[in-house]
């Protein structure tokens, strides 16, 4: 069997010999060609896409960070935020063109790099980038800042004074590789608060942030020069120490171990914005099980669970189905299975590693055997392989995490009380709750879900596509990066006292007097 190195563990088995063109897997506009030529280089293959990357040393990080800080001071620190919004908006408009060069590159290469189905990558990127259009960026800003001009200068605040928000001069951002496109969000967050970014690309998918940075460079080279994207093995202590030393903030998206490792090595007092492991689920109310609705509901839920092979933190691990609808929860599970199968036919799941396949088989067989003597369990699976799995389970002992890659549990519930009870032990990991119910129940459900610990409530079918400006993981993502400087109102009044007009000796104006 060939086990693709593409699934999160590149290089574990020997890569095939290099063939095809070698592409740049880095973004370093701060360095001259001569300086680039002097670096040590390595090439690695991601499922056949061969990327060239510099070997990252603490010395290289020192150099890049010094340049980034200089360019940030010269070209970004005092640039009006609306200017930045304009440029990023123009970049996103370019990406909306199906023939745009970088988009075509991404659509061609990312399926190879990640193993995700081409159609899924195409659709996923389009839906995702849409959320950064100019109008959405404005919403994003106003979600976090009552008056976004605080990023440019001191603006009146509610305490009678004035405030300005300063972003970090340089942020080290450790990207995730599970969902293509995700690092765009980190890059944009940094630029909106006028921070340069030293980005560490993920080994699972190192390419997209580079392509996106290059598209910014076409629109505005000075802005793009505030970004550097490199790859080094995660947890390289010397390299990361150098990066943290120069930075004023650090963000990291990834697993618990990776985030704890970064957190433990940060210099004291360093602002740190972690985006760690999260789980999501969906609740489907009896109204969405109406005879003329339930198939559509199943299709939407299958989309949520199948997009990016359930790898995103936004993907549901399980569905809670309310009893009392026109079709019972088991019938809904069967409909869901049919829709999972349909999605799989048009957008097949990525190849898995042995370990991942074995993990799914383990869960499946355990339920298969339990179903022998238990009518409250039913297993629906793809005909061959581990393509998708729906497990109908009436009495779950607890909220079980899915091993992902399109494995979904379905649990009937009598109402939100059941959901709250099952979700309680995992509350600090909860993120998105998809809902499908009648509009008049949304408020009550939202209250219950908020109590559970979720930080995003959306419609079933829209789980993988969060709105711009969502308080990702329950925080203001831009405000988490900035440092506020307040001018106290009383100070402005008190300083009147020192107005030179009052302090200079009275000057005479003979001319006037003589008038």
């Amino acid at each position: 069997m060939t086990v693709g190195p593409e699934q999160g563990t590149p290089g574990r088995i020997s890569d095939p010999p290099v063939e095809g063109p070698v592409l740049d897997g880095f973004f370093l506009p701060q360095l001259s060609q001569t300086e680039l030529d002097e670096l040590a280089w390595e090439t690695r293959s991601w499922g056949g896409v061969v990327l060239r990357m510099p070997v990252v040393t603490p010395h290289l990080i020192d150099l890049v960070c010094q340049r980034l800080l200089q360019i940030q001071a010269d070209h970004l620190a005092e640039r009006p935020v609306m200017d930045i919004v304009e440029i990023l908006g123009r970049v996103i408009t370019r990406w909306s063109d199906p023939d745009y060069y970088w988009r075509r590159q991404a659509e061609e290469l990312l399926p190879v790099v990640t193993g995700y189905a081409p159609d899924m990558v195409r659709r996923g990127l389009k839906d995702y980038l849409k959320t950064f259009r100019r109008d959405r960026l404005l919403r994003f800003l106003s979600q976090d800042f009552e008056n976004p001009l605080v990023l440019d200068g001191f603006q009146p605040n509610r305490a009678q004074g004035r405030s300005r928000a300063y972003g970090p001069r340089l942020t080290t951002q450790i990207f995730a590789g599970n969902v293509p496109g995700l690092p765009v969000w980190n890059l944009i967050c940094g630029l909106l608060v006028k921070s340069a970014t030293l980005g560490k690309s993920a080994s699972g998918e190192p390419l997209f942030p580079v392509l996106f940075a290059r598209s910014i460079a076409e629109e505005d080279p000075a802005l793009a020069a505030c970004l550097a994207i490199l790859h080094w093995p995660g947890g390289n202590k010397e390299v990361e120490r150098a990066a943290f030393t120069h930075s004023e903030a650090v963000t990291a998206t990834g697993g618990r171990a990776a985030i704890e490792s970064v957190a433990a090595r940060l210099p004291p007092g360093m602002p740190f914005v972690p985006y760690g492991h999260k789980v999501s689920f969906a609740v489907i109310g009896r109204e969405a099980l109406a005879l003329n609705r339930y198939t559509e509901t199943a299709r939407r839920a299958a989309h949520d669970a199948s997009q990016y092979d359930q790898q995103g933190c936004l993907s549901p691990h399980c569905l809670f189905i309310e009893r009392g609808g026109a079709v019972d929860p088991k019938t809904f599970a069967a409909a869901l299975a049919a829709e999972m199968s349909r999605f799989e036919r048009s957008k097949p799941r990525a190849r898995l590693t042995l370990e991942e396949s074995a993990g799914i088989e383990r869960v499946r067989s355990s339920y298969e055997f339990r179903a022998y003597n238990d009518d409250t369990i039913e297993l629906f699976t793809s005909d061959t392989g581990t393509g998708w799995t729906v497990i109908y389970e009436e009495e779950p002992e607890r909220f079980e995490a899915s091993p992902l890659n399109r494995l979904l549990r379905v649990h009937p519930v009598d109402g939100m009380d059941d959901v709250e009870r099952l979700a309680a032990p995992v509350r600090r990991y909860l993120q998105t709750a998809g809902v499908a119910c009648s509009p008049d129940r949304l408020d009550d459900w939202a209250q219950a879900l908020g109590r559970c610990g979720v930080d995003r409530i959306c419609a079933v079918g829209q789980m993988p596509e969060p709105a711009a400006g969502w308080h990702h993981d329950g925080r203001g993502n831009l405000t988490a990066l900035v440092r506020w400087v307040d001018i106290e109102g009383a100070a402005e009044a008190a300083l009147e006292h020192y107005d030179p007009e009052w302090t200079l000796p009275a000057r005479q104006d003979p001319a006037r007097r003589q008038l």
Partner: protein, 392 residues
């Protein structure tokens, strides 16, 4: 230690059992070109297990496999390890079992896998033939120093039973157990090793990998090391399961060499599990005894077993060198299912044409643990832990 050799194990035996036992007692090396014996016995045993093991029958039916339709042993449906936890996979009434071996349940103590043995004749025949062939080809008996509990203290441990029977069958005077309630009596071990060194009589140590780590740590702390007499050897098994610090197999063997004076090829690792009835040994000791040194380390499937390496996605067999999950076909696993899909990752080694008695070889790479999910979705163990704390 007095050897109580050949105490007949109790239980039910039939004519098929006797034929399988005779096949095993021919020895671990394959029987030349005549390879049809294994396949015939495997299909016969499958038919028996299909008929007498209702849970397994249901499993086979859902895979459209029944005795009359199979033409080769490769088609026998292999049960995954979870079946030993979720189902009662017994061909005879479980309450009449001569032994029920249970997994340690290190991941989930409330759910232990059980393998029922109506009798232990085939289990014993298998362990004798394998041990004699791969670990003791040069002599009848040797003092066996067991760094593990006595079988009486752990009646459901296949490991304790295995070591205990080895002492019965192969233990020379001086054989002893050195584990008392999880407490390794390393001073006693040191005393026995010193005596062996002094009188020049070789000994064999048996134990789990983590027991050896504790032994080596204690010896290091006390500054003890030994040059055991030529012919001394060591058998270890299993991973560390968080019960000691983790060492690579190479590091561990290096330390066996330095601390105990046992050469690399006489340090043998074996792979076994509760759900099957055969142990797979490194071939290095036998090779060294035959004068073949520096052979690549691999494990051998003795004549009454077959190893198939499969792609869990397609179920297809892997070529030699390609990684996959291991499927065991073990004629000695009479009481439950002869075909078992394990969660270990292995690859087959190409047959060694220089060896007359070469058996099927494979390299064990480790367990297919649930891998941490990519990206920002939660790891399974993390949520398990959260659930456990929440309900406590």
């Amino acid at each position: 230690m007095t050897a109580t050799q050949d105490i007949p194990a109790p239980g039910i035996r039939d004519e098929l059992d006797l034929r399988i036992q005779a096949y095993i007692e021919r020895g671990a090396a394959p029987a030349g070109s005549d390879d049809s014996g294994f396949g015939r016995l495997a299909l016969e045993l499958f038919a028996y297990q299909y008929e007498h093991n209702p849970a397994y029958r249901r499993f086979c039916r859902s895979r459209r496999a029944e005795p009359g339709r199979l033409t080769s042993w490769e088609q026998i449906p292999a049960v995954p390890l979870t079946a030993f936890k979720e189902l009662t996979l017994a061909c005879e009434p479980p309450e009449k079992a001569a032994a029920i071996f249970m997994t340690s349940g290190s991941t989930n103590p409330s759910q232990r896998g059980c393998n029922h043995h109506p009798h232990l004749h085939l289990y014993d025949a298998s362990l004798r033939a394998g041990f004699a062939h791969y670990f003791l080809p040069d002599r009848e008996r040797i003092p066996l120093l067991v760094l593990n509990a006595r079988p009486d203290d752990q009646p459901h441990s296949s490991l304790a039973y295995f070591f205990g029977r080895l002492v019965d069958f192969f233990g020379a005077p001086g054989s002893a157990y050195f584990m008392d309630n999880d407490d390794l009596q390393w001073r006693r071990v040191a005393a026995v090793l010193q005596e062996a060194e002094a009188i020049g009589e070789p000994v064999a140590l048996l134990g789990t990998s983590f027991a050896y780590v504790h032994l080596l740590d204690a010896f290091e702390e006390e500054g003890l090391s030994f040059r055991l007499p030529k012919g001394s050897r060591l058998l270890d098994t299993g991973g560390f399961k968080g019960r000691s610090r983790e060492l690579s197999a190479e590091d561990l063997r290096g330390q066996f060499g330095r601390r105990l004076g046992i050469p690399d090829s006489w340090c043998v690792n074996y792979y076994g599990m509760t759900e099957i009835s055969t142990q797979y040994y490194d071939t290095t000791l036998r090779g060294s005894w035959q004068g073949i040194e520096n052979q690549p380390r691999r494990k051998a499937a003795p004549a009454w077993t077959r190893i198939r390496v499969v792609d869990p996605e397609s179920g297809a067999s892997a070529e030699p060198g390609q990684r996959g999950l291991v499927v065991h076909y073990d004629l000695a696993n009479r009481g439950s299912c002869l075909a078992v899909l394990a969660e270990d990752i292995v690859y087959l080694t190409p047959p060694d044409t220089h060896r007359q008695d070469d058996t099927q070889g494979f390299v064990l790479l480790g367990r297919a643990e649930g891998t941490e999910a990519r990206g920002c979705s939660i790891a399974l163990d993390e949520i398990l832990a959260a659930n456990r704390n929440g309900s406590a």
